[in-house]
Symmetry: C2
Subunit: 471 residues, 2 copies
Amino acid sequence: MEKLKLLNERIVSRVNANLREFDFDTGRFISNAIEYDKLSRFYCFYGITSHHPIDFYFKHASMAGSYFLGKCAVNQSIIYKSDIRGDELKRKGDIMDQDNPLPLVEDETIVVNSSLLYKTLVHSNSHNIETPEEFTIRNTVSSHYANIHGSTIEGCFLGPFSTIDLMNLHSCIVGEFSYLQAGEFFHKKIDPGVIHIETKDFRFQYRYRKEEIDKYIGVNESSQPRGLIQQFVRGKEPEFERLFKVVDLPPIQAPESSAVNRYAVIKGDTRIGENVLISQGAYLEDAHMGDGSNAQENTYIIHSHLIGMNITAHGGKIINSEIGQKTFVGFNSFLFGKQNAKLTVGKGCIVMPHTIIDIECPLQIPENHIIWGYITCEEDLENNTISIEKLNAIDGKQTIGKMIFSGQGKIFINGFKNRIEQILVANGAYCDHDEDCRGHAQDDQQISFNTLQPYRSGKDEGLYPFIRIRP
Amino acid sequence: MEKLKLLNERIVSRVNANLREFDFDTGRFISNAIEYDKLSRFYCFYGITSHHPIDFYFKHASMAGSYFLGKCAVNQSIIYKSDIRGDELKRKGDIMDQDNPLPLVEDETIVVNSSLLYKTLVHSNSHNIETPEEFTIRNTVSSHYANIHGSTIEGCFLGPFSTIDLMNLHSCIVGEFSYLQAGEFFHKKIDPGVIHIETKDFRFQYRYRKEEIDKYIGVNESSQPRGLIQQFVRGKEPEFERLFKVVDLPPIQAPESSAVNRYAVIKGDTRIGENVLISQGAYLEDAHMGDGSNAQENTYIIHSHLIGMNITAHGGKIINSEIGQKTFVGFNSFLFGKQNAKLTVGKGCIVMPHTIIDIECPLQIPENHIIWGYITCEEDLENNTISIEKLNAIDGKQTIGKMIFSGQGKIFINGFKNRIEQILVANGAYCDHDEDCRGHAQDDQQISFNTLQPYRSGKDEGLYPFIRIRP
């Protein structure tokens, strides 16, 4: 274990050096989160398909319980129960920046250096035009159920259930349950529960109250997550353990055009439509997945019906709900209907990332609305939703409840709608058995997993040997 | 599959080129043995421990269902359900040849090139002083349950259940159930059922009758094995399949000083003593394994008692038998006692490799005897055993039944006894919790397995990507 502990210390000191202006010690989080014996007990996976370029490069690192797909290079890092999914990485010859149309000189690779990722999701489709061949995570500590989505991250600490979406972050601390999609940040400390989306054309801002954060996803004095969402997620963890104990699971009933990952939990009366993608780490119980819908990593869909063409972004939780046609549910949203208090979201809606809906009475949200923030009853809808039509018309600043929007609503809406279409296409939602429209739902079916093991004893215990896998 | 089929053709043409003087087509064996769909269905293993140097190099090859340990490099080859176990490879600095005491310049590696190994066991402890850093298998096709034991093999075809032990073989065909340990052979065709052990000091020869070979391990017109031993082995294969379907098996009750590989079948009232080694692919049912005994790969120990310090060499089968203290059972021996016809072998005996004892009445073999050939009843003992004392005294030529011995009996006996001691030491039979006497039984306990996967579809189907694993 000596070498692993040394590696841990090295990562902490590097990240702390990046964050020294904030007098912040990532060691507090790590020392209470990491159970060293688990690092030497769990294997990791590398997915092999004939559709995704293979290149797995691993050196002086620990990667217990983690899942890798696509081109990944990891060095001097600890990746614990994380998903590193590189299936949207750009390829050699792709043109990323239309203003400067130079093709990529080689396939893009996710490169993780001197970082500790704890139950973190890293998804590709990176946006940083400065380094098109490398999607970089460096000198960073990231905690429970954080999402790093196509974002360059250097010298940062990401709190539990935070999301960094399509941006660059340098030497920042991100509080728990905050969502950022705002171009580039340097040397900032972002409070917990902040939703901040910003481009040159608009800004969308929302901030949870401290007591709300404390109730759903605060951290305790040991820097560990606590609250309702954390409890919910922890309660489901044992269900995933079974998936790791058997080699071959009985296949899940699903159409040929759909992919159900073997590391997803599928329970009860769950039905899978055409062109559906169920990713690893998804949890489905009595879930009706309409045609073209998907459940991404760390999503939970329970006693719910997704009508069709629904995206459930990483970490989205949908319980006792009906989600209308092409309604989008953003990262880490927590739609918490009850058995006697069903949530119905109309078609064409956008549930913004990190939205919490926790109701005790049935609630209907009309179609074509944008939904954000904290909603517990019908009265909250006024301050937490707006029709797409109305938002489209905004040009300037408008405050609705605690949400502040400024800029051009039309560009905000168009940006979202385009992104939803891109995700549906990438996931293969429109495939209809057409080879040209293949997406993850089709390409991820014939996947097999290399399971890779750490040293189980000696001074290298918990570390993995050097591993390279390529075509 | 195209690439895999092309690889297969390339291997066949290379081996045939080496064997053209015999007008021998290895393609006949291969075309009837290989089921292509299985090559893309089974994963392979690479064992990771902190005691064995790690270096796994795999390029343009298929290795379905195979097991690797230690330093292995495989190129342009098909390794199907084989064991490649490199835990006795020499290390950098070791001196192999006392007459020419140059230390190895690097760790020894098993190197397999342009070969097809089908359910073959490759074990290290190689002897070829010409290439101390490389244990070579090249341009070779090897069939069901063949043993390649520390032998350099080039341009050969090895028939089912044949054993090549500590020698070099170039452009040879080895018939089914033949055992060779004879220095170096070039361009020879060895008939089925030949036992040939030869050094400059002695020669031991035995040959089974054709009808005996046909009964126990002949080949049919499709070049596939048939007969009693093949049936016996096939009948047990389903028991092994279960081991591949689960990730964690309940641990087998065994003392701390013993290792039971998780890919061994352990059934019934099986008891494991101290310093015992049970290798992958071993099958134990109602087996009492006395202290310091071992069951190597592809051994079967059923309703039997091994008193202690017993070696059961690769492929040995012991049924309804009691094996005395420090009695050695050689490669592929078939000791087939029956419920009402128990076989008892006294202490200090050497059951020569490829011995068949198939009895219908109880049989006792006295202690300190050498045992060989085909024994069905007490009368056969006269022509198939000799006391160690008597053999020790031979200096010249002596024929006993069909066995011809010439040379110095003392050197033959001493050679065998030394080798038995070496194996016991290597396996950790004398460990007694003493760190200096650790062997496989102790070092193989903390083993974990990387499972590596082939491409499941496309033109690469059944092949594996390039894989390198090293410290």
